[in-house]
Amino acid sequence: MSTTIVLKKGLNIPISGEAELRVSKAIAPGIVAVCPPDFKGILPRLLVKEGDPVLCGSPVIADKKNPDILLTSPVSGTVKELVRGDKRKLLTVLIEADDEQKYVDFGPKDVERMDAEEVRQALLQAGMWPWIVQRPYGIVANPKDTPRDIFVSAFSTAPLAPDYGFCLGEKIKEIQAAVSALAKLTSGKVHVSVCADTPGQAEFAKLQNAEIHSFKGKHPAGNVGVQISNIAPIRKGDIVWTLSLLGLASIGELLLKGKCNFRRKVAVCGPMAIQPSYIDTLPGMPLKQLAPFYGDRPDGIRFISGDVLSGRNAGVDGYLGFFDNQVTLIREGVDKELLGWARPLRYKQYSRDHSYFSWLMPWRKYDMDTNLHGGQRAFLMNDGYYAKVLPMDIYPVYLTKACLAGDIDKMEQFGIYEVLPEDLAVCEFIDPSKNNIQDIIAQGIDLMLKEMA
C-alpha cells in the first residue's frame, strides 16, 4: 500500500443524528420511481408505456444522444404512471412492484476472460452504465471514450455519511469483480482511495487490479474529486471516470450472477430522524415509506436524498435518488432568532468561524436546521477564508467569480475541469456572504457543456 496522503484543509460538519450501525428495517416498496433527472447528461427517451409489464433489469428509458445507454427497472412489475413537468419534461416513471420479483437473466460472466467490448456491452445492456460518471462535468460517461483513469472513493466524509465498511463490506467479492472488469476499459489504472483511520476500510485496501491510495483528512477528503486532484489532477482534454462503491457492488453482482440488483443499505439520519439507523431498500423508494423515522408528521421537516451539503431536497412525496444511500431529515429553520448574531456565545448554533466559540468544543454535535443564518451579500471575505476548507490546488473564490462572469477562459484556468459542485460544498457552508456557491459552479459547468459541445 502506498503512503497516506494527509489533507489538512477541510471541515467535518458536526451535525447530530448519526445512523446506528444496524439494519432496522427492510423495505420492499410497493411503488418504485425511475427518475431521469438523477442522471446528469441524459436526455430521456421512453421505452415503455403506462400498463407495460417490466422485469427487474428491463430497459425503461434510453438516452437520446447515445441510445446504447439504458436506464433499467429496479423491480419487476407494471408501469403505473409517467410523471411530466414543465414543457412535458419527463420527471418520473412510476413502477408498481409485483409481490414476487422476476429478473432478466443476463447470464454470469467470467470476468477474467472478458475483453473491453464485452464488459462495455454487459454494462450497457443491464442499465449499469449510468453508474459511470465522467469528469470533467459530472455527466454519465460516453461509452465511446477510453478514460485516462478510473477513480473510486471507498469512503465518504460527508456529514452523517453511511459507513461503507458496514454497508458494502460483505460485497467485497462483487466489488473485486467490478474493479477487474473496469480495469479493462481504461488506458490507465483503477484508483481506489481508502480512509486511513477507519478500521472497516481494510477490506477495500486489499482489492486487486487497482492502485490503492490511503487518505486522511476532514470533509471533503472523501470526495472523489478531491482525491483525483491529489493523485493525478485532470488537465484540459483529459477524461476520467468515477464510480461509487455502491455502483461497483451492483456491477459486480451483474457480472457474477447475471442479474440486476440495486438493493442497498441506506442510512436514515439527521437531527429529526427518530432512532437513526440503516434500512435495506431500493433506489426510487418513496420517502413516505420512512414514516416510522419521522413519526408520521412530515410538516416542517426537509427530506434530503443524500447528505445535508449536496443532497437533493426531495420532499416527503419524493423518492430516494439512484446514486444515494443516505436520507437526511432536518428541521426547516423558519423561525426568527432574536439578536442572533449579536449574542456573544450563541451556544446552540455551530460556527467554524473563530468569532464564535464553538470551534473550541469540537466534541459537540448540533441539531442543525435549514436556516440561512443571514442575508445574501457580495463576496467580502477573501479567497484564503474559503481555501481553508478546500484541499485542492485551486482558488475557490476566483473560480466562483469566473463562473458568475461566465468567462470560459478564466474558468478553465481556475480549474473548472477538476471540480463538481459537491467539492465546494463546504466553502458554501462556511460562506458568511451566504452565496449559493454550488449553484454558481453548476451553472458554470452547464455553460462549459454548452460551449464545448
Binding site: N313, S355, N371, R377, D383, D431, S433
Partner: protein, 371 residues
Amino acid sequence: MNKIFEKGGKLHWLHSTVDAFETFLHVPGTVTLKGAHVRDAIDLKRILIIVIVAAAPAALFGMWNVGYQHSLAIGNTGIDILGNFWYGFLKVLPLYVVSYVVGLGIEFAASQIRGEEVSEGFLVSGFFIPLIVPVDIPLWMLAIAVAFAVIFGKEVFGGTGMNIWNPALLTRAFLFFSYPNQMSGSNCWISLRPGETPVDGFTGATPLALDGAQAQYGTGFWDMFIGTVPGSVGETSVIAILIGAIILIWTGVASWKIMAGTVIGALAVGLIGDLAGISKVPCYMQLIYGGFAFGAVFMATDPVTSAQTECGKWIYGILIGALCLMVRLFNPGYVEGMMLAILFANSFAPLIDHIVVNSHISRKAKRLNAA
C-alpha cells in the same frame, strides 16, 4: 415585514431600510433554497461587529485623550479621568453622528435603488472615520468627505464588496487634499472650547511633525506607546490598537500576514534610513509614530480592498510598510505616509493578486504537463 413595504406597496421605497433594521434585531427566518441545506451560523454582521469590538479600545482611549490633550493645552494638569473622557466623548460624538447619518443614508438609498439588502460594510467604515480625522474638523467638511467616499468610492462600483479603496481612508484622503489647513499643522489636533487659548509655549503638533523635538509632553517610547500625545482621535494609543489586533487575529477576521508584512516592510526601509543617517529616530520608533499602527491593524487589513491571495497578502503588507516609511523619510512635503501608502497598495492589490494567481496557474500547468 408589513405588506406596505413589499413590492407594489405604498412604502416600498423604504423596503431596504426596514429590512436592514429588522434583520439587525433578529436573524431572519429565511431558509436555504439551493445548495447546502445547512449553513454556518456566521454572517457578515457578526464579522463586522467583531471589527467594531476590536476598534472599541482605541476609540474609548481616543475620547479620553481628546480631553487629556485639551486639559494640557489650557494648562490644567490635574488628573481627572472621567472629566477628560466626558469632554472627549462630547467632542467625538458629533463626528460619529455625522459619519453614520450621512454614510448610512447614502448606503440605504443606494441599496434601495439596486434592490438589494443593505450591506453592513458601512457600520465599520463609519466607526473608523471619526477615529482617523482630527477632532476639530468642521462637521460640514466631514459630511462632504463621507458623502464623496461612499458615493464615489463604493456605490459607483456596486456597493460593499466591490470597492477598490478603503472608504474610511478615502474620506480622510478627501479631507487631506481638499482642506489641508484643517488637516495638518499644529492647531487641528487639540480641541478647545470657544474662547479658550493654549498656555504659552504649547504646541499641538504631533510627535511625527516635531520629530522628537521639544514639546511639553514626552515623546519617549512609552508616551507614544500608551498614546498620550496629540493625533487623530483613535490612532495615538499603540496599546489599545494592539488589543484590537489580538482580537482580530484570534477571530481570524483580519489577516496576520498583512499586519506582519506591514511591520516588516516598515522596519526594512526604516533600517535603511537609520543606516543612511536620514532618519532621526531608530526604525522601531516608526512603528509607534502617527497612524502606522492603526493603519496596519485596521485599515490595511480590510478584506475587500486588500490582496486576496495568501502570498499576495505578504507582498501587499510589505508594500504598505515600505511605502509609508519612504514617504515619511524621503518626502519633505508630508510628514505622514500611512494613508497614502494604504490607498496606493489598495490600487495595486488586484495587480498583485493577478500576478500571484497567474504564476500559480502557469506553475501548475507546467507541473501537470511534465507529469
